[in-house]
């Protein structure tokens, strides 16, 4: 199963490193990263493979959420199917 980790907020040093750290901790494999600045907001999107996750999906997602809260960022972990179904026929 693949998930999309999205990070939205004010640009700062070390965002990608902190997010990838959690991925490594939980054994989520990063498949692709893309980032851009949209409407003055830093946006980073990471596609990760989580079939080998060493914790539950819920705790992976909670860790990301907590990281977001600590750093004033909006971090979401969402199943990739939601984007595929909405934007592809």
């Amino acid at each position: 199963m693949k998930t999309v980790v999205s990070v939205i907020g004010k640009d700062a040093v070390g965002i990608i490193s902190k997010v990838s750290n959690i991925c490594a901790e939980c054994n989520a494999n990063i498949l692709d990263i893309t980032q851009s600045v949209l409407q003055d907001m830093f946006v980073m999107v990471m596609l990760t493979e989580i079939k080998e996750l060493n914790c539950s999906f819920a705790s992976f997602s909670d860790k990301m959420k907590a990281l977001g809260e600590q750093n004033n960022l909006d971090i979401r972990v969402m199943h990739e199917d939601i984007f595929n179904s909405m934007h592809r026929i």
């Binding site: 999107v45 596609l47 999906f57 969402m78 939601i82 909405m86």
Partner: protein, 452 residues
């Protein structure tokens, strides 16, 4: 990889524009729970509901977390209880209490189906159930009731219409100490659908499978935000934008529905592609109509704008789901829609305009507070008018009005939560329809019914 703009669009819809799955509703047939002993039947009902829906709330929450989409309500619809009362007789309120117990055990926020289908006449159990509705809704908190009093094929059962005017009033009176909340859980239908996932009118029709999952989507805020980006387009362009947006919203509903059905091991029924407003700012159907160019919802042009919106939502959504059903369209519940509330308070939106709007929206007169002095025969006449619109236009119409006991037009009823607050609207009380309603009998089915 998926386009970053598409990802941002989806996230924006959820976080800024109130996109959500309004409800995942499990339909459960209770036909096999019928018993000549009422207590036994209640026990079977409780056991069946808790067995099939024990996991419903958890599965809903899991999907919510994994997909990142809010699923606001997890609900259950059941076979019209009047059919079980037909076998057992006795006091139907016992069934309502059994359903409440099952709602508490499963953690769902509503069970719908304390219902009777009497569009052509009363059969065993129907009248007893209808007469018990006020008590049933006052002693329970999560049970919804509906009565179908007419259809295009059968005409309108005016005996039932007369009775329902009294029942709506009684329900308001018996729950007057709680802002007449009982009436917010009671709908009177014409052409009720069997697979509606939305409350208060959900019940599990007899043609449905034993157990099934339906999904109701929402998203008025998303449509409004999309239209905002096209301030000078013509109406054809607006229709196109609404279609595209409805397509995306419905795809999400389809995904959640198939996923929930897989995890629960229950067949997937339908996606109801409705625009269901909430009192939250940025989640209003009235504001879409205003975005289309009306100074306020309720002014001349409102019916035309709503007709286009309703049609475009269906056209966009129908391609996105393998099975579309339920009510599908745009809801116009006054107390649940910030824009409608504002228009009703300012006097720009009147009951007569709402009645016209129901000819082109997905349901009918919904969540409308009316003066407490409104007599039963006037409520019956409002029901009859609405049923006639549904019968002749081969569409579902409904009446969910709340007589505000002890209050007058201009005051407000507060329900809280998704039910919102209802400004009490003016009703014509100077001239009476009493003689017409007292005639009772049955309005014959219209020419439209003779299609064979």
């Amino acid at each position: 990889m998926i386009n970053i703009k598409d990802i941002m669009e989806t996230i924006n819809m959820i976080s800024e524009e109130n996109l959500d799955i309004r409800t995942v509703t499990m339909g459960i047939s209770l036909l096999d729970c019928a018993d000549s002993d009422e207590d036994k039947a209640c026990e079977k009902i409780y056991n069946k509901i808790t067995r099939l829906a024990g996991n419903l709330v958890k599965v809903g929450e899991d999907i919510e977390r994994e997909f990142g989409i809010p699923i606001i309500n997890k609900r259950i619809s059941v076979t019209p209880i009047a059919m079980l009362v037909a076998s057992s007789g006795g006091n139907p309120v016992k069934y309502a209490k059994a359903l409440q117990k099952a709602a508490d055990a499963t953690g769902v926020n509503f069970i719908g189906g304390y219902s009777a289908l009497v569009h052509k006449g009363f059969s065993a159990g129907d009248e007893a159930l209808i007469r018990s509705i006020p008590e049933a809704l006052s002693v329970t908190s999560n049970i919804c009731s509906s009565v179908n009093i007419g259809s295009t094929k059968a005409g309108i059962n005016m005996d039932a219409v007369k009775l329902m005017g009294q029942i709506v009033r009684e329900t308001a009176e018996i729950t007057a100490d709680r802002d007449c909340i009982g009436c917010a859980k009671l709908v009177v239908f014409c052409n009720a659908v069997e697979d509606n996932p939305f409350m208060a009118g959900a019940f599990h029709g007899v043609g449905e499978p034993d157990c099934v999952i339906h999904v109701g989507v929402s998203g008025p805020g998303v449509v409004q935000a999309a239209l905002k980006k096209c301030p000078n387009g013509d109406l054809g362009q607006l229709a196109e934008i609404i279609k595209r947006t409805a397509f995306k919203i419905t795809r999400m509903g389809q995904l959640v529905g198939t996923e929930a059905s897989r995890r629960l091991g229950v067949p997937f029924g339908i996606v109801d592609l409705s625009l269901a407003p909430t009192p939250a700012i940025g989640d209003s159907v009235a504001h879409i109509l205003e975005e289309m160019g009306l100074e306020t919802c309720g002014t001349h042009g409102t019916t035309a704008a709503l007709a286009m919106l309703n049609d475009a939502v269906k056209k966009g959504g129908v391609m996105a789901s393998s099975y579309v059903g339920g009510l599908s369209g745009a809801f116009i519940p006054v107390s649940e829609d910030a824009g409608m509330i504002a228009a009703a308070i300012s006097g720009d939106l009147e009951l007569s305009k709402l009645e016209a709007m129901t000819a082109v929206c997905s349901v009918g007169l919904d969540m409308i507070a009316i003066p407490g002095e409104t007599p039963a025969e006037v409520i019956s006449a409002i029901i009859a008018d609405e049923a006639a619109i549904g019968m002749v236009n081969s569409k579902t119409t409904a009446v969910r009005v709340i007589p505000a006991i002890g209050k007058k037009a201009g005051e407000t009823l507060e329900f809280g939560g998704l039910l919102g607050s209802g400004p009490i609207m003016k009703v014509n009380l100077t001239k009476s329809p009493k003689k017409f309603i007292d005639r009772a009998g049955r309005i014959p089915a219209p020419m439209q019914s003779l299609k064979n």
